[in-house]
């Protein structure tokens, strides 16, 4: 951006930490250690990093909004001429929401549930612009229109619970803009949203920034979002910025080994069949930060100097700088160490699908599955309608194969998974596992079949009982289903399972809270594997995990499939994961599968307009990667009142007359690709 112009925000050597322990034995563990960056007007700086790297803590320190245990330890935050860390609290309040505003990750919980939308905008106008009454009302209305909320007048008097997730985030943005801020801090603004909504919100943020010439500090873990939004990027690792670069240089030539690893860990079609690059080890805990480079223990290029001496900044060109000894030496022309290093791109791929013959032995066959939840109303609680969560889903899955069920939140994909396992009773239709009809079976008759089908859930923090040891969690299923009888055998089996998922056998005696997110998901996988199932329904198993951890879990799932011939029904909203892991894909919209086919067909020649829009909305972590985004108007309608005709027609850019009347029958686009769309010739 404009280098000669003064930055609106200049952060120098910011250090903050969290108080740990009780009163007298208290010490402060540094979570952000010497972070410096500038943000200019009209510029977006993205702070990229995995969970726990200190990026949110940095943002909250700027506004001095740290949680109770947080302490700013030093440094300088210069914003419009004053050092925010020295300001009295009363002056700081004029900055918050006025000069500098913030939007948060979770729009559902970040708005006050008992105040109207209008009230929540008004209080900013009142505080910072001294607007009240009709003037404030008019301004609030303008703001809602500016963030693209239809029917803004009505929305002013509504409560947050009456709005969809995307609209709530728009309201959050309106609240943030109300004080005419010069700097907007966006902390993972789209992480909780669906991709089509994410595309809308990112568009909106870009447009508003350009109109107002605001500076923006974007906190994210998503390389795709960075590619779309950022002018400059700062990569954070363990409380430090390790690389800073303009967008182009960052994507064409990332230099820090950590950044390179992050790119390599992204699942992608080009890596299909091979293993994903993972980062060995873990981020060092705050209590035991190494003296040298913090990434040294996990770095493929590290040598003694890295472990002893913290690297200083090495300037490359045009504002691209890196904190790395290896890069510094390369830069000085001493390629002494680069020789022994491995280029991450040169990772030996296992050739794609070599030797895997396409098994056709069908394991699971689902036909016309429906799950309808009744809506009851009135004095007699009559059934006045149904939420058709799943409305006629048919699919097949063969042994050793993965079918990805893709769709946005609320499309019914999780319900399909649960209904197949009979965890929810289907209203209609059949699910046949290896020739055995599952629907209509009694609990008792289902019990022996539970051995053959298992589920892995999304949130490894909530799905493991915190009061049971890991060993007990794994043993529970085995003893309930009579897989292993004697105690001695059980112990050996648990140890073997833990090793199979890459955990030490002695983990059995510990409790879930002692493990990180990725390790917990491994425990959940071991629990599912314990009864030796043939089918595993994986419900978004990696969406709560960081990219590098996600890569580990995906690799594990893939190798387990190769070893054990497992079939996966993989429920996800993440296309990158689909590309890497799945053989076939089914795309769901409002309770029905709208397109189904092999991975290549669906991802590379999608026929349904919804699939196309969904694919184009996924932010690509490349500079030129994303073609024009197909923007879908509005949001997914309620499954209680699906639109007449094709459910998708109100949002479809190509809808015509027939679409408004008839739901299209399945049409064969190729021997393996089935599409439900009038545009496809029957």
């Amino acid at each position: 951006m404009n280098e000669e112009q003064n930055p609106i925000l200049a952060v120098r050597d910011l250090r903050m930490g969290f108080a740990n322990g009780v009163r007298h034995a208290q010490r402060v563990l540094a979570a952000v250690d010497g972070v410096s960056f500038d943000v200019h007007a009209g510029e977006t700086l993205a702070l990229l990093g995995e969970s726990g790297c200190g990026k949110s803590a940095t943002a909250l320190s700027l506004l001095r909004l740290l949680p109770a245990a947080g302490r700013v330890l030093g440094g300088e935050v210069r914003f419009e001429g004053s050092d925010l860390l020295q300001l009295p609290e009363a002056d700081m309040r004029a900055v918050r929401g006025g000069g500098m505003a913030m939007i948060f990750q979770e729009p559902a919980t970040s708005l006050n549930p008992v105040l109207t939308v209008g009230r929540q905008i008004d209080e900013v106008l009142e505080k910072h612009l001294r607007l009240t009454g009709a003037a404030a009302q008019a301004r609030a209305l303008e703001l809602l229109k500016a963030v693209g909320i239809a029917d803004a007048e009505r929305r002013l008097s509504e409560y947050p619970f009456q709005l969809s997730g995307g609209m709530k985030q728009r309201v959050m943005i309106a609240v943030a803009l109300a004080g005419n801020p010069r700097l907007l801090i966006a902390d993972e603004p789209t992480t909780a949203l669906d991709v089509t909504i994410q595309a809308q919100i990112l568009d909106l943020l870009r447009r508003l920034q350009a109109e107002r010439g605001m500076g923006m500090l974007l906190i994210t873990h998503d390389l795709g979002v960075v590619a779309q939004m950022a002018h400059r990027v700062g990569v954070m690792y363990a409380g430090e910025i390790v690389e800073e670069a303009p967008r182009e240089a960052f994507f064409t030539e990332p230099r820090h080994p950590y950044t390179q690893k992050l790119f390599a860990a992204l699942p992608d079609l080009s890596r299909r069949g091979g293993k994903l690059e993972t980062i060995a080890g873990q981020v060092p805990p705050l209590s035991a930060m190494p003296a040298g480079c913090r990434f040294a223990a996990r770095c493929p290029h590290a040598w003694e100097r890295c472990r002893e001496e913290s690297p200083a900044w090495t300037d490359l060109q045009d504002g691209h700088r890196v904190r790395c000894h290896w890069v510094e030496e390369q830069q000085r022309g001493e390629s002494r160490h680069s020789g022994e290093s491995r280029n991450p791109e040169a990772h030996p791929w296992i050739p794609a699908f070599a030797g895997v013959t396409v098994a056709v032995e069908r394991l699971l066959e689902v036909d016309n599955l429906r799950v309808h939840f009744p809506i009851r109303r009135g004095f007699f609680q009559r059934v006045v309608g149904h939420v058709k969560a799943v409305d006629g889903v048919s699919l097949e899955l063969a042994r050793g194969r993965t079918l990805a069920l893709v769709g946005e939140s609320g499309c019914g994909k999780t319900t399909v998974g649960k209904a197949i396992l009979q965890l929810i009773k289907p209203t209609e239709g059949s699910a046949v596992l290896d020739g055995l009809e599952l629907t209509g079976l009694s609990r008792r008759a289902l019990r022996p079949l539970r051995r053959r089908m298992q589920m892995i859930f999304q949130d490894p923090f909530a799905s493991l009982n915190p009061r049971l040891s890991v060993g007990d969690i794994i043993a529970e299923g085995m003893s309930a289903l009579g897989v292993v009888g004697r105690a001695k055998e059980l112990e050996t089996a648990i140890g073997a399972l833990l090793e199979q998922v890459g955990l030490p056998a002695d983990a059995a005696h510990r409790y879930p809270h002692e493990f990180s997110g990725g390790q917990r998901q491994r425990i959940a996988i071991a629990r599912a594997l314990a009864v030796q199932p043939e089918l595993i329904v994986c419900d978004e198993p990696t969406s709560a995990l960081d990219v590098s951890v996600q890569a580990q879990i995906l690799n594990l799932l893939k190798s387990l499939q190769e070893q054990l011939g497992l079939a996966y029904l993989f429920i996800t909203h993440n296309f990158a994961v689909v590309e890497y892991l799945a053989h076939e894909v089914a795309v769901m919209y409002l309770g029905r599968i709208v397109e189904r086919g092999t991975v290549d067909e669906v991802l590379h020649s999608p026929r349904h307009p919804y699939t196309r829009a969904l694919l184009s909305a996924v932010p690509s972590p490349r500079l030129d990667g994303s073609p024009e985004i197909i923007r879908l108007p509005g949001e997914t309608p309620s499954p209680a009142k699906p639109p007449k005709g094709c459910h998708f027609h109100p949002r479809c850019p190509q809808a015509f007359d027939v679409c408004r009347v008839n739901y299209p029958e399945p049409r064969q686009a190729s021997p393996t690709q089935v599409v439900r769309c009038h545009l496809v010739a029957p």
Binding site: L63, L65, A68, R93, A94, V95, R96, G97, G98, A101, M102, F104, E106, T109, S110, L111, N112, P113, V114, L115, E123, V124, K127, H128, Y159, F161, M172, V175, G179, R377, G378, F379
Partner: protein, 325 residues
């Protein structure tokens, strides 16, 4: 909303019938009219005739549920259940053992009970919420720490101590207000001040500690961080954002007891000599007057059901997310 309330009221009917039947079983089957007569007449020198006479005078000589000898509808109406229990549905509680009309007694004693219970309730709610809010404002400071210690100490001390200590200090030593008694009309205030004050103080410990927890839980939520990010002052954040949300669990917890305020307080009323329903109940228990106890048990359960319905209604007022359909 209306349909929902109607349904709730209809649900109340079987509950009340159940309560009525259980009370009936307790007072007439477990403790038979013969036992009652023996108790009233004195256990030692009592003859069978005297018992029969006592029962006949009070209508306890009839069969429990079915009077096979009676003509017509009297088969079911000329029974103990119908004359004693079923009539409670229409507010007819019959007579006490001393011959006084219970319904009349209850209506006249309601006033003094409410005169104590209502101010105690309102003032108590105000004081505890304010105290809890103060602790929440000064969270993680020494004030908060010692405030919680004080709460725990206050809730560990028996209510009797506050009553006796208060009477000794304020009435006996300082002679500010009378120790006990009651008078009708506006002059009642000097009899009410002490019991109300003691009622409020004895409730602070447990409630304030609980409300403080609710406030702290709300303060940790994301929307509070949003409110601070808007540049609002801590006081505004606390009153406009935190208090409103915290009032949802607080109000719904206290609304249920509002109807029960009519019942008065057993302990306070008997210690301060207030002629309310609480002391009425205590006296009836002492005098083994089961007609009165039965009436009070039944009224208590009716009021509790009313309280639960009021709680549901109050939800819709404090929480816009809840609309009953």
């Amino acid at each position: 909303m209306l349909a929902y309330l109607l349904r709730r009221l209809l649900y109340a009917i079987p509950i009340l019938i159940g309560v009525n039947l259980i009370t009936f079983a307790l007072f007439f089957i477990v403790n038979t009219p013969d036992d009652m007569a023996r108790m009233q007449l004195g256990v030692k020198r009592v003859t069978a005739e005297a018992i029969e006479k006592w029962k006949a005078e009070r209508g306890y000589d009839k069969p429990l549920f079915v009077n096979a000898k009676a003509p017509g509808v009297d088969v079911v109406t000329d029974t103990i259940f119908f004359s004693k229990s079923a009539r409670m549905f229409v507010g007819d509680f019959g007579r006490a053992e001393d011959g006084r009309d219970i319904t009349k007694e209850i209506t006249s004693r309601m006033g003094p009970s409410l005169a104590i219970a209502l101010p105690t309730f309102i003032l108590g709610l105000f004081v505890t919420v304010s105290f809890a809010l103060l602790l929440a404002f000064f969270r993680a400071t020494y004030l908060d720490f010692w405030g919680v210690v004080l709460c725990v100490a206050m809730m560990s001390i028996s209510g009797l101590f506050y009553i006796i200590g208060g009477q000794y200090l304020i009435s006996k030593l300082w002679r500010l207000v009378p120790i006990s008694g009651y008078t009708a009309g506006l002059d009642a205030w000097k009899f009410l001040i002490l019991p109300v004050l003691i009622g409020v103080i004895s409730g602070i410990g447990s409630s304030a500690r609980w409300y403080r927890t609710i406030f702290l839980e709300e303060i940790g939520k994301d929307y509070v961080r949003t409110a601070r990010a808007k540049g609002l002052s801590e006081i505004t954040v606390l009153f406009r954002h935190v208090l409103r949300n915290a009032m949802i669990p607080i109000l719904t917890g206290v609304v249920v007891v509002i109807p029960l305020l009519f019942m008065g307080s057993l302990l306070t009323e008997s210690f301060f000599g207030i002629p309310g329903l609480g002391s009425y109940t205590i006296d009836a228990i002492n005098a083994q007057d089961f007609a009165v106890v039965r009436a009070m048990v039944f009224i208590g359960s009716v009021l509790y059901i009313v309280g639960l319905i009021l709680t549901d209604i109050s939800y819709t007022f404090v929480d816009p997310r809840i609309r009953f359909e």
